[in-house]
């Protein structure tokens, strides 16, 4: 079992010239936690990861890993390992040498390197591929080699930079499960960057939502789903997206009014709103209905799979009690 550490960020700022990309981020990640940074592109999540890895230098602030200040430490001295979006496998080295590269740089004895590489390969079902070059591997296999390269270094913290975005949908679902298994098995701290809220929801112990270089909200997946602090978080977590309207239009005394598609029910009995059915997406288990509501605009409703209202018909909907969100 790998050792594990906490990661603490204190007032981290990062600017490129006059452009501030990270604005006073403070965050604490517990030992063994699976923490996901999520947000739209350009929100600073990858930069934050690269600051933790040491590939980028902070402009100000302190980074602690395992209680030790590593703000000015070399990446290799931080006890971290990183899996890149492109995998970054060395094309001229075999799988074996790719996994053992860091160990050979650290001048470990050959026999020890061999043992560690083979143990990692065994755990990731790569044993048969050890003498191949990366070019001769499939996307999923490359992904596993990249993980293997991270594992052999016994890092205290694993860093993942959108590792699944180059895989197709089926493989992505499978790798989500494999990564969760790996996390359980190793018990190591993992920090994972993605723009995909499904990956965040399914894998994270703790989700950090970033927006414009600031932390918008930190919490467990269900906390973010059930109690988003802002329309931004509310719109980002959950699929299909939450319906968001100005309080004025919705007839509420708040800035923004929100209701999730799954928390609307179709009804003809004194509905709160009535809209014209514009489009129906039948997914099998669910049906997603797009309504044009005169005073609000588009409203998305998630209903049972059997529901099939005719296009153009008028349809009434009401929100479920206690599931409405009112943001200042």
């Amino acid at each position: 079992m790998a050792s594990t550490s906490s990661v603490i960020l204190k007032d981290i700022c990062k600017s490129y010239g006059a452009v501030e990309v990270i604005k006073r981020v403070t965050l604490s990640i517990d030992p063994g936690e699976f923490c996901v940074f999520v947000g739209p592109s350009g929100c600073g999540k990858s930069t934050l990861l690269r600051l933790i890895s040491g590939l980028e230098e902070t402009t100000s602030g302190v980074i602690e890993i395992g209680g030790k200040d590593v703000t000015d430490a070399e990446p290799s001295a931080r006890g971290i390992a990183m899996v890149f979006q492109s995998y970054a496998l060395y094309p001229h080295l075999s799988v074996r040498d790719n996994i053992g590269f860091g160990l050979s740089l650290a001048k470990l004895p050959k026999a020890q390197i061999k043992a560690k590489v083979e143990a990692a390969a065994d755990a990731l079902q790569l044993t048969a591929l050890l003498d191949r070059k990366p070019k001769a591997l499939s996307g999923g296999q490359r992904q596993r080699v990249a993980i293997g390269r991270a594992i052999v270094r016994d890092p205290k913290v694993f860093l993942f930079d959108e590792p699944l975005s180059n895989l197709d949908a089926a493989l992505r679902a499978q790798m989500r499960i494999e990564l969760s298994d790996l996390h359980r098995k190793l018990g190591a701290t993992m920090i994972y960057v993605t723009h995909d809220q499904v990956e965040a929801m399914t894998m994270a112990d703790k989700i950090v939502v970033l927006n414009g270089g600031r932390i918008e909200q930190v919490g467990s997946p269900m906390e973010l789903y059930n109690a988003p602090v802002s329309p931004f978080v509310a719109g980002f977590i959950g699929s299909p997206k939450m319906n968001l309207y100005s309080g004025l239009a919705a007839g509420e005394a708040c800035g923004t009014y929100g209701i999730r598609p799954e928390h609307l029910r179709l009804t003809d009995d004194t509905p709160r709103w009535t809209g014209r059915v514009r489009h129906v997406e039948r997914l099998g288990a669910d049906t997603v209905i797009y309504l044009d509501v005169p005073q609000l605009g588009e409203m998305v409703v998630r209903a049972d799979g059997d529901t099939n209202p005719p296009i153009g018909a008028m349809q009434g909907v009401s929100p479920q009690q206690g599931r409405e969100f009112r943001f200042a």
Partner: protein, 279 residues
């Protein structure tokens, strides 16, 4: 035009092109070969005829023996200069190209300016001789090597910079995380990946340096320092009446590029057309 007629036209144009190319581009080489194997008297006629008497071996021995085996010395010198200069061009070019591509800084503009100058500006020959004399490098083989490095550097840097820009930066970062020092990133990760472009550079620069006439003429005078191209030029006056030997010599200096061309056609094409597509 029907498709079938197009095919026929293509065939005929091909034959015509082949005939013209043969006359224009192949006959001069055949002329070199035929004159090189003739006797002294027959070669002096300069005619494009089949040799009445073949003396390939005799001519070869004669030309090699001329002036106390000068040609062998010339081949030795040219080989040393070419190998030394190309080795340095590979290392220097790759290192500068790497810094230029991976480490953008204020210095880069200066380096680019130097590259442009190196590609465009004709060397100031006499002041260069003055500098070489001051450094005790004039008329020396290693001085000649450094001159070829200075003159070939701009092209090497550009070629390497272009190739390194196709290597994902993630690789460098993965190596840094794996604990590699900057020089280890370069020598263990980047340099091995530069093999294709290095082969191209070696082939193209070897031919250029081996064929160079002007620079040895200025910077490497003296009997002991002759290079292959200079021997050829010197023999031109010595062999006024021995065209067979002169052309045997031409044949000998043509064979190395021919061999290189046969084996490294692809790399030569890559090197010569680098930048032609992107501009």
């Amino acid at each position: 035009m029907s498709l079938r007629r197009t095919a026929a036209t293509r065939r005929n144009t091909g034959l015509l092109a082949l005939a013209v190319a043969t006359v224009v581009f192949i006959l001069p080489f055949l002329f070199i070969f035929l004159t090189a194997v003739k006797t002294k008297q027959e070669a002096a006629l300069l005619l494009f005829t089949w040799p009445e008497q073949w003396q390939l071996w005799q001519n070869l021995v004669d030309v090699v023996k001329t002036r106390n085996y000068m040609l062998l010395l010339a081949y030795f010198n040219s080989t040393v200069i070419t190998a030394g200069a190309v080795a340095l061009l590979v290392i220097f070019g790759a290192m500068v190209g790497y810094v230029l591509q991976r480490r953008p800084s204020g210095w880069n503009r200066l380096i680019y300016a130097c590259v442009l100058i190196g590609l465009m500006v004709p060397p100031a020959v006499v002041p260069t001789i003055w500098v070489l004399q001051g450094l005790n490098l004039f008329k020396t083989i290693h001085g000649m090597i450094l001159i070829q490095v200075a003159y070939g550097l701009a092209f090497s840097v550009l070629l390497y910079r272009g190739f390194i820009s196709t290597i994902p930066r993630d690789l460098d970062e993965a190596a840094v995380i794996d604990g590699a020092k900057p020089w280890q990133v370069f020598f263990k990760v980047i340099l091995p990946l530069l093999k294709p472009v290095t082969v191209t550079l070696v082939v193209v620069q070897s031919i250029a340096i081996f064929n160079d006439f002007t620079n040895p003429l200025y910077y490497l005078p003296g009997k002991d320092n002759v290079t292959v191209q200079l021997t050829l030029f010197n023999f031109q006056s010595q062999f006024q009446s021995q065209f067979n030997l002169l052309f045997m010599n031409i044949l000998l200096v043509t064979i190395p590029p021919l061999l290189v061309f046969v084996f490294f056609n692809r790399q030569i094409v890559a090197g010569m057309t680098a930048g032609a597509v992107k501009g």
